[in-house]
Each structure stands twice: as structure tokens, then as C-alpha cells.
Symmetry: D2
Subunit: 257 residues, 4 copies
């Protein structure tokens, strides 16, 4: 087989470098968030960038065992106590466009809108309206808007956008996300940006690629999944979940089979 | 079904708290590493504890696409481009006692040795020797020792133990791990502590439960897996892996079937 | 939580039925393929339908450890020997539109074409040509065509279509699939139907929903993945995979970090 | 990298063979159960062996969405609608010693007991009693006994053992399993063999290795998981699961963070 090529890690018996940075030096001086930024970007973050990425990672980490990702991880612990990593893996697989993973599609939406406006802020409202109308026509759900618990406002969005502003990092991504929010309110009904949408706007402004929207949520949520798995192992018995089930299929077959 | 109980996250329409701490405040002031510590421990870390946990998380994050966890994640991207989270999940499932997950069993070994010595440091050498002899009798591999690349010494171990000492966090866990290393060298042959072993010793000293040894490696490695998945998506074509295969089973069946 | 509703299984202390059929009776008289058909359809198969579904399931089961799904499963065994099911799971996650999972999109293509032709066979050639042209315009790959090993012809396709004909089950699905194949040859170049495409045509004719195209391949391949996992456990050592890796990223960072 | 070796599949541009058998011929004449047997054994089954393996595979396939494996698969569909295979994978990962996977450990138990008795049937009762006593001393749960729904008797066990007898396949495995059941009833309390235990006894008598106990259950259950995933996609909305959660951790932190 051809060698696997990578531009991320240079590992050998004498060295271990991530994007050219010596891992031993990073271990001595950097934070895990620095490394996460470096792994997904091309360079280390500034202190301001580190601050906002820390906030993003904290905001997505855990919503308790009722979130589908956490519940799936706990179910695996319940049936398979041989592999804690398999439980975390099942939780990770639960993350998709419908659960925590809307950041990627929202980043694509923001990038499309800004590109159509050719970066001209005066055209953001018009392009946002056009995107909302297009979504309505195809009956597509707008990624990054609405939350089943935080119906009116997701307070984490405000924290993130305030941080972005005070750290001097608010750019066109946030501006276009707010334009989308206004267009949604005008043309459909008020549906607030959710944390996926806020994350998408900020990651756009930090120069990340759209796929990072979903992946950074995964990195964040794994911290919570891991803690949920730890608690399920140490507090709960195997096979404890007992769902009520209602059968509404065909009646018993007459011939007994 | 009975409600799912949790002692970690208290989430509601008006609040989101992790072990009593307001997540909005954590987003404003804490680091992701603080949150990881809080999720797996009972409290936030001191600055010294945060420093060493950052070093641990950085040290385990990525060893390049040749590591089984990374290769598995990239294979999934290669065949299933619909779900980046499924690729990360496959990488996570690859982590076991044989790959990155020895921290848990090493923490159990250290805890057993210290308990048998009743915490008395003068008895560590004797108890370490006893554990090594027991492992030899059952032909069990000692978890936390040896590395297929870092044969002589894993430089990350030195960085971690130096940090633990300078931050004033080196305790009985590190001491017992070194006692084990000496006993291995005397009774078998010199096999250095690897990063799983170093992580185990330090996490013991920080008061974490043994299962955290494996789980913190998962949290750490997911940062790397996520970046590998991003690179595979953005640089490589689907279905690019072409392994050489050698068949050594029964010959063609005579009757054609 | 609301009860989970299901139209498939009625399970209780005194009975276990699948779509109304008593499982004990099925155990006594039916085959596993009967049950697979029943689970994904609304009824048991005829003997002719059972024959062709057996052939489909056999055809997709295993292509050796070089297939990405098998390689991923073996990598998990290599690193995580605590959970054979986690290894099978990683292999399953590798199945996507690019690897074994094209059956679903091909079934959708066939259903679209037949619907556009309003079921009129004389219009199949024209509608197939239109679909091929649409795919060319959007540069989309036609699902169900081409194979990296079976470049000229996939002999399993011929076996399946012959069986469908001799069992009296060949319908519009197969006819439209052949029309697509001709249109591809005329308008692009000869690219043979692959097994995903053949499976799609036949499953359409048997009345399955498009999603079954991907799912039946999963059911089929799991038989092979399971055997590969068994062999990896019983013949091979942990951590045996050694990929060559080539780093082509940034050079060492000047400041040592 | 060294070539991957396999004794199962010989695949090339001109042929595809499983353990020497031409897959095209198998597609024409064999059943999926034949292939599953061949993949996990060294040869094709006799008609009697096929019958009993069909019964085993049917018995384990699906217990409805309340089983942890099915619930986990449905949760993944609920959050991640991009990858049906990821949902099946999460269901598979849920299978462990505690859920469907006890067959392997029960096969090991049976093999141990028969080996200790040196195959002498007159010694089975004594060796079974010894194994039960050993389990009681270490407080280990006996694999293959008890079921949370089928408390008194699992009717599938009777069907399987009757089939084994009428097909002339009942051997020492079944006999030793029954000896274990009697020893459990005498020394602890009546706990009936469950389907894992019945499967273990029969697979022992058919000459399968212990790991097959768990793997054949996976193969079987995937048929059900796949159907559950299909139903969740086609009948249910994303993010529909709403678990009740009860927080019993530390109270709100006084300093607001």
C-alpha cells in the first residue's frame, strides 16, 4: 500500500510534532485548547482566539443523560461493560445534522451568503432574506436556528457573541448570522440562533473550514460523554433501562406461525 | 421508564450547571481543560492541576494516521462520507487495553500496590516486586510499560513527571510507578514506563478513579481523530486504501462450489 | 417518556411475534433469510423470493480483509481486544454511499426513472438517458455502476439477474437498470452495473423501500465482518498493523515549539 | 505494510471464493445461513446443522425497540439521519457480556466443565456442581442463565433443544448445560437457561469456537437492528426521544460559577 500522507503530525522515534510544533514543548507551555485549534487550523491561536474557543468547547460539552448522544452512550455501558470506548463511540455516532452537528451546514450557509454579497455588509440583509426564502421554498430547515429546550433564546449564544466582541473577534460571520436571524423573524417567525449557529458564525470568523463546525462539537461533547460513561459505570447496574413499548403492527397470524 | 439520574449536569430551560457550576460563567472564565477536570472529578482544578492535565491531554492527542485509531477513522471516511462523526466513533472504538487504554489497568495496579503497602513508602519496592512477580507468573503484560516506537524511553514521560514535580503534584502514584519500573528492570529487563503509565501515576495522584485513565485518553485522542478526519475529507479521495492481501486458506473446492 | 411504538415486534412474557408471526414457529420451520425478508418487508417471502434474497446476501457478505469495512474491523480488534462487537460496529460504520451502500441511491434512481416513465416500458430508454444526462451535468457519480476490481463486468450481477429471470421475479426494476447501463455506455463509456446496482434493481422489483438497499448490504456484510473479527482474534497479535506514513506538512517551527 | 493474510476469502478480478467455495455457485444454490456457517466454521453445514443454525439466528434477531441494542440504534437515527449504518453500528456496540453476548463465556464454561470431566458423562453432574460453587465463591454471575423478562422459562430454549434432538445433533454441550442448570437449581435457586446458554450448548456441539457465541448473536441481531432503523427513519421524527432526568448532584455553587 502507498504510504499514508499527513500534513498534521510528524512522528518518529526521536520527535513528535504537530504542524511543525514540538509536542514536548506544547506539553510544557500550551493548553489543550491551543492544541485543538492547531490541529484543526494551520497555526496556534492568539490568547483572544483561545478564550473564545474555550467558551465554545465548554458550551457544547454536556447537556445531561437526556440528550440522545449521552443516552446512547449510557445504553452501551448498560449492555456492554467490556469497552468504555465503545460507549463513547456510540454517543459520538449519534451526533449528526439533527443533533449538535448543524454547525457545518450553518457555516456553509454563512459562507454562501457572504460570498453572494461579495463581502459587502450593506448587502447582507438582502442575501440573508434570499437564503431564507430559498429554504422556505424547498421546505428545508435552516441549520443553526431553534432549540427544543431553549425556545425563546439560548443564553449561550449571547455569552459567545459578547465574548467575540470584547475579544475583538466579531467579524462578518457573526454579522451575517444576525442578518439571517432577522430575516427568519421577518419572513417566518422569530426563531433564535442556537449554539450550533453561534459556533458556526464564530468559527467562520476564525477562519475554520465548514466541516470543523460539526467536528468541534464532537470534540466538545466527548468530554461530557466520557463523564456520563464514567458515572454509568460507577453508579448504575447493567441492563437497567426499561422502556415502555407499544406494538401497533399486524395482529397475530392466524395459522399460528 | 424511571427518570435517568445524574450528579453531573443540571439542565433546564433557565439554567445549565455542571456539578453546581453555572456553565455560562464557566464559558466566560474557565478553560476546556477546567471543564474536563470538573466533569471527571468533583471540583475544578487548581492552576497547577490544570497545567498537568493540559500536558496529559496534549501528549495523547495524535500520533498520526499510522496509529490504529487514526487509520480506522480514515477508513470510515473513505467508505462512508455521509457522517464525519461515524468516522471519529470508529477511531474511538479502536482504543482499548492494547492501544492507549492501558491507563486504567495501570491505575488499578498502582492503587493495589499502594494499598498493599498501606501507603508506607518504605514498602513500595517490595510491593512493586511482588506485583511484577505475580504478572510474570500469570504471563500477564504489565500495563503502562513499553512502546513499539519509543523502545528506550518515551520522552513524554519525563516531561509529565518533571511538570508534576515542579507543580508540587508528585505523590505516591508517581513514586510507586517508578518503583514498578525499577522492579521490571531488575526482574525482567529494562522496559520504560510509557505515556499510559505516566498518565496513570499522575491521575492517581490527582485523585481520579481508575476508569478515568482510559477515558481521559479517549478525550485527548478525539482531538487528533477529528483533525485526521478533517484532513481525509479535504485531501483524499473515497475508497483510496488498497491493502495487499494474501490468501492462505483451503484450495478451490473440487466440485466447483 | 412516551412508549416506543413498533410495528415489527410484539414481545411479552408469554409471546414473541414478528409482524404477527410466532417466533417459536419461525424457529421451527423458517430460514434466517425468511426472517430478514419479513423484518424488512410486510410478509414472508415466496420460495422464489427467498432464493434471490439468499443470493443477494451471499454476494455481499465478504470481500476479504482488504475491503475498508473489514480492515476497519480488524484494526479495532488490534487495539481493543475487550469488545468483538465494537470491532464489527466499526466495520459497519464504514459502509456508506462510497462502500457498499450505493444500493439505496440506485433504488431511488430506478424509482424516479420508472415514475417519470409512468411505468411505460417503451419510455425507459428515454428516461434513462435523461437521468444519465442530469448526472453528467451535476458531475454526480451514478450509484450502482463501476467497481474498482471488477472493471469490465461483475460476474455476480449476471448470476443475480439470471436467478431473477428463472425464478420469474424480473420486473421493471431490472429492466430500467439495464436501460441505465445502456444509456451510460452510449453517453459516457461502458461502465457495468455493479452488485449494488443489481441488488437495487431486484429489491425494487421485490417491493422493498430504497433504504433497504443500504441496510440489506449491512446485514449481508456483517456475516463477513464477524468472521474476519474471529480470525483476527484467533490468528493475529494485538497492534500488528504498521502503516508507512509520509509527512508533508510544515517544517519544524523555528522557536523550538 | 505486510500483506494482510486471510484464510477465509480469496478475492481477485476473476474469482471470489469463501474457504475454497466459489461464491457464484454459492449464490446459485446455498442459503445465507450456509454461508454464515461456512464463514465461522471450516465447512458448509449439513441440512440438520443448517436447520438448527437457522433457528438460533431467528431466535436472537429482534426483541423490539425496548432492548438496549435497538434503543441505541434508534437514538442514533434520531440525532444523525445521515448514516443508517452508523445507527446499526451503535446497536451492535451495545452487545456485550451483559446483553446478548453471554454465549461466549457460557461456551467457555461448558468447554471447561467437559474438559475437567474428561468427556465422561457420568462426571458431568459433579463438575457442573464444582463450577457453580466456584462462581458462588467469586460472586460471579453464571453466563447463560436468567432473563429479565422470561423469569421462569425461556420458551426458545425448549425449541432449540428439541430441534437439536430431533435433528440428531444433541451432544455433550447440551448435556453439560442441563447439568449446570440442575446444579444451579440445587445449590442456588432455580434459574433457567436463557437463549445465550442454549445457543452456547448447541454451538459447542456443532464444533464452533467460544468467540462465535457472541459473534453469531451479533449476526442475528443485526437483522433486527436494521429493521428497527428502517422503521425509525420511515415512521418517526428526528430528536423525538425525551427522557426524564433527575439531578442529584451538588447544589448551585455559591459564587455564581
Amino acid at each position: 500500500m502507498d504510504p499514508l500522507r499527513t500534513s498534521i503530525v510528524d512522528a518518529g522515534p526521536t520527535h513528535l510534532r504537530v504542524r511543525g510544533h514540538n509536542v514536548l514543548e506544547l506539553m510544557r507551555h500550551a493548553t489543550f485548547t491551543d492544541l485543538i485549534f492547531l490541529l484543526h487550523h494551520t497555526r496556534l491561536p492568539t490568547p483572544q482566539e483561545r478564550r473564545i474557543v474555550d467558551a465554545i468547547l465548554i458550551g457544547g460539552a454536556d447537556h445531561g443523560p437526556g440528550a440522545p448522544s449521552c443516552a446512547a452512550a449510557r445504553l452501551v455501558v448498560s449492555g456492554n461493560r467490556q469497552s468504555p470506548s465503545a460507549a463513547v463511540a456510540a454517543g459520538v455516532a449519534t451526533i449528526g445534522d439533527e443533533h449538535g452537528g448543524a454547525g457545518t451546514r450553518c457555516m456553509e450557509l454563512i459562507a454562501t451568503g457572504i460570498a453572494r454579497a461579495e463581502g459587502d455588509r450593506t448587502r447582507f440583509a438582502a442575501e440573508a432574506a434570499r437564503l431564507v426564502d430559498e429554504a422556505r421554498q424547498t421546505k428545508a430547515r435552516l441549520p443553526g436556528f431553534g432549540h427544543r429546550v431553549h425556545v425563546d433564546i439560548d443564553p449561550r449564544v449571547d455569552v459567545l457573541f459578547t465574548l467575540a466582541r470584547t475579544e475583538g473577534l466579531a467579524g462578518k460571520g457573526i454579522e451575517f448570522a444576525r442578518a439571517l436571524e432577522s430575516a427568519v423573524a421577518e419572513r417566518i417567525k422569530p426563531i433564535p440562533l442556537n449554539i450550533d449557529g453561534a459556533l458556526a458564525a464564530i468559527l467562520h470568523d476564525l477562519g475554520f473550514r465548514p466541516l470543523v463546525g460539526k467536528l468541534l462539537f464532537v470534540v466538545s461533547r466527548v468530554a461530557g460523554l466520557s463523564a456520563e460513561v464514567l458515572e454509568e459505570y460507577t453508579r448504575e447496574k447493567p441492563m437497567r433501562f426499561r422502556f415502555d413499548v407499544e406494538y401497533d403492527g399486524p395482529p397475530p397470524h392466524p395459522d399460528g406461525e
